[in-house]
């Protein structure tokens, strides 16, 4: 089988945790399929990470210091083609969503998204499980040789790698591109830093109406907590972006995460599942949030919030 290609993403100029997870699994799978691991990184900033990746070989795309989807895709397709890749692993991030489906479709290869486990299959190539229907169902799928796979960050632990022994080969790709970067935009830090709070009162679409946010504010005040939220609450313009927990928001690890009216979509879980204690209140007993919560209840959050605020007030 051709090599396992791992697409390397950086976070603050270091390898992202999700990439470490992909490399870990790739190194475990490669011997079973008598093949090697090739790490693919973009721009000079990736050089050190590639050298320390623990992969057998690495390819560094020159002139790709800033991420431009069209250029990154051209490079990935060239590497897939040149190496007759046996498997391509990407994290299910923005980059993975850009490059995964497109390179699979362009190269005529199967694609599996939202993967949470990946193993060598008996007699075949690989087998995977994927989280579909916002985490309400799991699909077990056969992953044929040559597939492109995007993995949900945090699906399995990453092993530390040591050393800087991976040889890095430079790759030049044509620089003309239909797409151009205009500017990068740094995160809006907002009024509060939700990543520093010990207790988060986090509200989702179950809050139903922006007027009900007052109930969450009062509860947070009584608890000495901070209000955070899921993405739809931000998209509706009810709370600022700095309050958003999840894949496209902040990653939080408070002592207590109170998830109120949040269903627990994979994109939300990604940002809070390592909280010390998670309490979820959701009227739907089948909501996936209960898979990660330590304590749960199915009562109405609009009833619970004022009651709890009152109790906290009484207790003083």
């Amino acid at each position: 089988m051709g090599p396992i290609i791992v697409v390397v993403e950086l976070q603050n100029d270091a390898m992202s945790p999700a990439t470490g997870e992909l490399l870990t699994r790739a190194r475990q799978l490669a011997p079973a399929r008598s093949t090697r691991v090739v790490a693919l990184g973009f721009g000079e900033a990736a050089r050190a990470s590639l050298a320390a990746s623990g992969a057998d070989d690495a390819v560094l795309v020159l002139g790709a210091d800033a991420y431009v989807p069209t250029r990154a895709e051209a490079a990935l397709r060239q590497v897939m083609h040149d190496t007759s890749a046996g498997l391509v692993l990407l994290a299910n991030t923005t980059m993975g969503m850009d490059l995964g489906a497109a390179s699979a479709a362009a190269e005529g290869r199967p694609m599996v998204a939202y993967v949470t486990s990946l193993a060598a299959a008996e007699g075949g190539a690989f087998t995977a499980t994927s989280q579909v229907y916002a985490g309400k169902l799991v699909a077990e799928v056969a992953v044929p040789e040559g597939s492109v796979v995007t993995v949900l960050p945090g699906s399995w632990p990453a092993e530390e790698t040591v050393g800087s022994g991976t040889p890095v080969r430079d790759l030049a790709v044509p620089s003309e591109s239909a797409m151009e970067l205009v500017r990068t935009i740094e995160p809006d830090t907002g009024d509060v830093d939700i990543t520093r709070a010990d207790v988060l009162v986090s509200v989702g679409r179950g809050i139903q109406d922006p007027d009900n946010l007052e109930l969450a504010d009062e509860l947070a005040e009584a608890l000495g907590a901070v209000v955070s939220c899921s993405r739809p609450v931000v998209d509706a313009g009810w709370l600022p972006r700095a309050r958003q927990v999840g894949k496209s928001g902040q990653t939080v690890k408070p002592k207590l995460y109170l998830a109120l009216g949040i269903s627990g979509a994979p994109e939300h879980l990604q940002g809070m599942k390592d909280s010390e204690i998670i309490v979820a209140v959701n009227s739907d007993p089948a909501a996936p949030i209960f898979e990660v919560a330590h304590y749960g209840a199915t009562c109405d959050i609009l009833e619970l919030m004022p009651l709890l605020t009152e109790r906290l007030g009484e207790a003083g």
Binding site: A105, K136, L137, I185, G224
Partner: protein, 258 residues
């Protein structure tokens, strides 16, 4: 600027997802369906572009069954045209097959900008924006917001792409271009059912005979199941008062009361 917005419906997650007898698929006929929420965002963003810059907006859907209302709703919201791709299709069609049929139609249909939801809850085999970009060989980007037409004199399209932690980048791209839209500039507009009914009596859906499903790069689903609870929450039974009491006890036990 001619914009196509691709729309589809997906099972309503508020209801129980019944599985079929094979254990490999959903009991599609027993489910209720709703428009995919991110397609709604894409449609809204397109309609805002039409209002701001005069784009021509077509809503395009594959006729996998009962999709007329979704197209009439798009017209009622302000789309200029609704296109229904007809053929031997049904709701069990994997995303990859749908993408190929859409790509074959879009390749010659003369659109400048294809907008679609960033993902759908059922796209196990790849998100549509990337699949189309790859099949058509057109530039494409996912997790996009703030689309702007006429970003410069060349007719390029501007957009912002989101990354983890709230970081973003602004891009400019030549057309034709495919964008997977994460969120519109405003929450999707609402049209009353009565208005959709009214439109369905006066407007017509344009039917286009499209290609037959192919079996290229299809995945074999071996099993579809509900997550096997590994660490399911300890549930507090009872009404809000009982739950509040349980929470108070937990706060005390964990010394989390300020």
């Amino acid at each position: 600027m001619r914009i196509a917005v691709l729309v589809k419906d997906v099972p309503d997650l508020v209801e129980e997802l019944e599985l079929d007898e094979s254990g490999r698929g959903l009991a599609v006929d027993d489910l209720s369906y709703v428009p995919s929420e991110w397609d709604d965002q894409a449609l809204e963003e397109a309609l805002l572009l039409k209002e701001a810059s005069g784009a021509h907006v077509s809503a395009v859907a594959l006729d996998t069954g009962d999709i007329d209302n979704m197209l009439y709703a798009a017209l009622a919201k302000g789309a200029d045209r609704a296109v229904k791709l007809v053929g031997d299709y049904d709701r069990t069609m994997p995303g990859r097959q749908r993408a190929r049929i859409l790509a074959d139609y879009l390749a010659g249909a003369g659109y400048d900008l294809i907008m679609t939801g960033v993902q759908a809850v059922d796209d196990l085999d790849g998100q549509i924006a990337g699949l189309l970009g790859g099949m058509l060989g057109w530039p494409h980007a996912s997790v996009v917001r703030d689309v702007a037409l006429g970003a410069d004199a060349s007719g390029a399209v501007g957009f912002v792409q989101e990354y983890a932690g709230g970081r973003m980048a602004e891009f400019r791209s030549a057309t034709p271009l495919v964008l997977g839209v994460q969120a519109a500039k405003k929450p999707p507009r609402y049209v009353p059912i009565a208005r959709i009914r009214q439109v369905s009596r006066s407007a017509t859906l344009e039917e286009v005979e499209a290609g037959a499903p192919t079996s290229e790069s299809l995945l074999a689903i071996e099993r579809l199941y509900r997550p096997e609870a590994q660490g399911h929450a300890t549930m507090w039974e009872g009404d809000a008062a009982e739950v509040a009491a349980a929470l108070m006890a937990l706060l005390d036990e964990q010394h989390l009361r300020s």
